[in-house]
Amino acid sequence: MSPHLGPNVAQDVSELVEYHFMVNALLAGAIVAVTAGVAGWLMVLRAEAFAGHTLSVMAFPGASAAALAGIPAAWGYYAACALAALAIGRTGSLRGGRTPAPRGEAAAGIALVQAAALAAGFLFLSLYGGVLGDLESDLFGTFLGVSDERLITLLVVGAAVLAVLAAIARPLVFASVDPDVAAAHGVRVRALGSVFLLALGLAVAAASQVTGALLVFSLLVGPAASAQALTSRPLASLVLTVALGLIVAWVGLGVSYFSTYPAGFFIATASCLVYVLARLLAGLRSRRGGPRARLPAAEPAPGEVLA
């Protein structure tokens, strides 16, 4: 039977989960939403979207290198992302010192990593001499072909990324918002930045299995930026990020099943929609509160004698 989106949502959902491949796709979407959500939340906090974008284009060198080596494209992607993450981390430390490079300098380093990786991708492709298979699904994502084996790989990678991020969460946040004081407290600011990039690279590679390489940002940035717009409480915004990510991934995959278009399109659209709504809501809230009464600087501190 051909998939048909009916008015009865419960029936639509039960139709979705009748198929093993669709259950696998939804599970993969969930793993990816959680992993990319948490990694993306930290990425947004660190303002490292450019590094994240560079990691997402590693799909091309990764896939072409994998084709050349005769291994599955996903493995090439994981390896290319990890290598690029290490390279970006190294460009940051070329100048020495313990604190991060100024943003402009860091961006130049990242841009060069991106250019070098794309160049390598073209080289691998010429050496391979063939045409990359599954190009469209690599770029735009698919709900098809999430095998049990692939699902388990995703689960392992996702769990590893989350475990690493949980372990370094506090010093990483400290190093992100307050590098000087963090360094004075003995936090290894540079090293943590590199470890985070590596985890981010793996999260990006995992997420692209579902969203496609071009639209990986929809799960990486959308939910995290929406949540951070809505609340500045760290735990609440992290939980909200994961919840929004799950909604975006599942709605995108579900709608994609009933249509003829790639999953990544719907996931990206849902993600943008969520972000726009979050921004509108945040704007509405701050307007209703009026220009927030600046706390009078005259609020006397204990022992204050001059003001």
Binding site: L45, A167, F174, V177, V181, A182, G186, V187, L295, A301
Partner: protein, 289 residues
Amino acid sequence: MSTSGATPAFELRAASVRLGGTTVWSELSASVARGEFVALLGANGSGKSTLLRVLLGALALSAGSADVLGAAPGRSARAVGYLPQRRAFDSGTRLRGRDIVRLGLDGDRYGLPLPGRRASAAARARVAEAIELVGASAYAGRAIGEASGGEQQRLLIAQALVRKPDLLLLDEPLDGLDLPSQAAVAALVAHISRSHGMAVLLVAHDVNPLLPYLDRVIYLAGGRAVEGTVEEVITAETLSELHGVPIEVLRASDGRLVVVGAPDPPAHHHDRHNRAGAGAAAHSGAHAH
């Protein structure tokens, strides 16, 4: 925290620092006793922040020795509170003031805080106490990026205080604040130093907001340092000798010191002095360098 103890909060003996082949200062000896409130003064580039980095253990001496709280610099990091020279937080930083203060307490720990009720309640209480102490309770729940410069500075002082340090190093905490905020933050730091017996070394551009509170000053110029009370150090003789050019020190009727002729770029904060009204005419030298 200990207020007694014969060991000074820090002591530098014949200390020298070279950075990139240039000697920043040499043969520098200075110390601050426990509970003392001392300002570190000097022109731009005289090595004030460098001295703080030495005390933090982030920079090694090329000669001489340094003790911080009776140990080598950096060894007693948990007992040293540090407020770096900085610009404001990005307005998009989506963390609350309270979270920034909390990072000062246990932000260097790996792993997630276990929801062990007692420990985390104690940590929250400690954070609330530090915020209360600086009078920031009313806005600690808002995103740090939304706070004004003065509010952010109070929260950052709370962050530096949250571990109840024995030595507080503040790098230009008054920079970028309007005059009332400068006065308020100076009073706050003095109050904390007195009430908690905490040694404070405060890097400043302008000594005037600090005048009512300072125990002593350390003045850096020309690779050397002079320490003593304000009356001893901020004098025409001492400063002329340090800088090697004639310098005049005038005292306004309200007690403010005006240093004339110091070889330093012109003051960049005229507007602040103008807003203050009194002393506006003396802007060109209303800071002690």
